[in-house]
């Protein structure tokens, strides 16, 4: 019964890197042509099937070939060898407002863009009020040329058209992150509705959390090779393993009245570690070394845990915690312990600082000096680990 909706068979694609568009350039470079003809392999032997009603995420770092692959499924690029098959109608949201023309009014653009995305005029007329309402730009603006729109209105209108398409296959390339927060929620809701309706979605994104939340399956690409084809958890995990950013080592600042050295992430037993599970004990320890000047009486040590998007997940300092510190006359070892780590899978970074208790003077601060990873088993999504009890009566 289960039959693929998209079938990608042994697809290869490379791009030639020298682009010479005019006769002059070609003539000038005639002799050197051969030497300059570098090519760049965007995809190498990629094959997979996508079953109906699957949401597939394509992940990988920049230049890994995921957008190229998406464009091939969409028929915008042709593979060098191999082929792509698919069934049903397809709509590709590769760029918000790709077909928008600034000189046309909002209304005209809705009709033009909708027909580019494959809606008939009749369907567009039927959806028109919904599209305008979804974009939330107000009736007064719909007959204004879109070049006078604020950028937010422009994008919202474009996206509103896009989410009203009615395809069996939807290709989405990194366009979910537009508009303000309520609008993003609306978009996410819409994608989930598409899923409920049993449509097949192929999604390219850098947002690994989005992949974890939305996708049943994910493919990890690395320089054109398919590295992982499996559950989104597996692909995201491998991606994090492979391309963990090294913590930034040279980003430190402060007056150096005191210096932090030897930042170590440890486990419950006090041994260096960088992998944790929710509920484990996390330790962070480092030395604070006084500088040349007079002994510092007024000092405090702060710590912040940040996620991969620089959001501070947790932060505190000794002053706020009511810990009284002895004068900094000698080297001190500071140990933070966080029992029952309440975080789900992800990559986290540690920032530490030593400063005065008022927080006005920074002696030394190390941004994202160290990092650790949390692995959870996939039975939960989100950021927070809660010890869930379920009771059904």
């Amino acid at each position: 019964m289960s039959s693929p909706v998209i079938r990608v068979v042994d697809v290869n694609k490379s791009f030639s890197l020298n682009k010479q568009k005019s006769l002059k350039e070609r003539a000038v470079n005639l002799g050197r042509e051969r030497k300059h003809r570098d090519s760049f392999t965007a995809l190498r032997n990629v094959s997979f099937d996508v079953e109906a009603a699957t949401t597939l995420g394509l992940i990988g770092h920049n230049g890994s070939g995921k957008s190229t692959l998406l464009k091939m499924i969409g028929g915008i690029l042709t593979p060098d060898t191999g082929y792509v098959e698919r069934r049903g109608r397809l709509a590709a949201l590769l760029e918000v407002g790709a077909g928008f023309h600034g000189d046309l009014t909002g209304r005209e653009n809705v009709f033009l863009n909708a027909s580019i995305l494959g809606l008939t005029r009749k369907q567009t007329e039927y959806y028109f009020d919904d599209i305008v309402a979804f974009a939330d730009i107000g009736d007064r603006f719909i007959d204004t040329q879109v070049k006078f729109y604020s950028s937010g209105m422009y994008v919202r209108l474009a996206f509103a058209v896009a989410v009203h398409v009615d395809p069996e296959i939807l290709l989405v390339d990194e366009v979910l992150a537009v508009g303000d927060e309520p609008f993003q929620r609306k978009c996410m809701e819409r994608i989930k509705q598409f899923q409920r309706e049993g449509r097949t979605i192929v999604l390219v994104t850098h947002g690994l959390d989005t992949v974890r939340q939305l996708c049943d399956r994910a493919i990890l690409l690395d320089h054109g090779d398919m590295v992982v084809d499996g559950s989104s958890l597996e692909a995201v995990r491998t991606f994090r393993e492979k391309y963990t950013e090294e913590p930034v080592h040279d980003d430190d600042y402060g007056g150096r009245q005191a210096t932090i050295t030897d930042v170590t992430v440890t486990n419950g037993a006090g041994n260096p570690a960088d992998r944790f599970q929710p509920g484990d004990t996390l330790g962070v320890e480092f030395d604070v070394v006084p500088g040349e000047g007079p002994t510092i009486d007024d000092w405090a040590v702060g710590i912040a845990l940040e996620d991969h998007l620089d959001n501070v997940v947790y932060g505190t300092n000794t002053h706020l915690q009511g810990v009284t510190l002895p004068p900094l006359s000698d080297k001190r070892r500071v140990r933070f312990r966080f029992p029952d780590l309440p975080m789900l899978e992800g990559q986290y970074y540690v920032t530490v600082a030593v400063h005065d208790t008022g927080g006005g003077i920074t002696y030394h601060r190390l941004d994202r000096r160290s990092n650790f990873r949390v692995f959870s088993d996939g039975s939960e999504v989100g950021v927070l680990y809660l010890s869930t009890k379920i009771d059904v009566t």
């Binding site: 568009k21 109906a52 033009l112 009749k122």
Partner: protein, 352 residues
Amino acid sequence: MTERLTEERVDAEGGEARSAGAGNGSTPGAAGDVGPVVARRGGPLLSAHGAEAIAAMPMQRVNAPQPLFRGFGTALREVFAYRELLGQLTRKELKVKYKDSVLGFLWTLVRPLLQLLVYSVAIGIFLGSGRVIPQFGIYLFTGLVAWTLFTDILGGCTGAVVGNAGLVKKVYFPRELLPLSVVGAAVVNFALQLVVLIGAYVVTGNWPHLGDLLLVPLAMLVIVVFATALGLILAASNVYLRDVQYLVEVGLLLWFWMTPIVYDWTKVRTTLVVNNGLTGLFQLYLANPMADVVLAFQRALWPGGHTAKGAAFFYDGNLYGRLGIILVVCVGLLYVAQRLFARSAGNFAQEL
């Protein structure tokens, strides 16, 4: 088939939505309330997108490589399936061109009218053709109308794919639509200029001879087919070599003077055949499709040709036969052009 199903479904849904809207009396989908939208659409679409429905659809190869000399029919069908988009793109071409200008569409007429004025004065009065050829203004205009249609299509097509790079790189649709929308817009402009021509008849009180009016649609068809064929080739080659657009400009200038628009064809005959006996060269001159088209327009739409004085400048050869042959050749050319275009269309997105 798919499209039909979809439309029916929308109809069914529409009925449901309207009755629901009437029931609670609220504006459907007011700002922020995704809820009702979801609830309303969830039901009917669910079944239509179920696995069974999709499994019933045929598996199709994306951008299946077509043999060079087959696939013209497929392309035609595809363009037909996308006819609504073609209409929208044509409308865009027309709307965008003179948007924000006070005179708007009238500007379309300014260029041919100015050409008409310049040539009437320079050639009609200074060079004296106006004293020889009766109703010289209309004589010029009939030729210019045909020529403008030809250059609008050719010039527009050349930039059609490159100018819409944003679309080509991001959305799939038959790429032929881009040049074809230019053709559509040019035909609309052509129709507008014919209205001016009719105005000129009203003013002068001289109406063309009815007998040859059938030449107009035939000649127009030749222009459209011929220019579209060339336009497809130029649009595709301009993607790979941007010099094409400049070559077209220069080429059109040369071509203009190779076509009997501002001078009459008898001068060419006199020079080539009577004075120098170069009949072959004269035949080559007449083999230019645009020469035949312009001669046909003059014969059909220039009332002066049917006066005793104008008869000499009136091409009396078998234009129906000539245009018929040219049309057949042009259809063949269109076929080849489309195949060449389709061949290269797969790589447009990466070349732009």
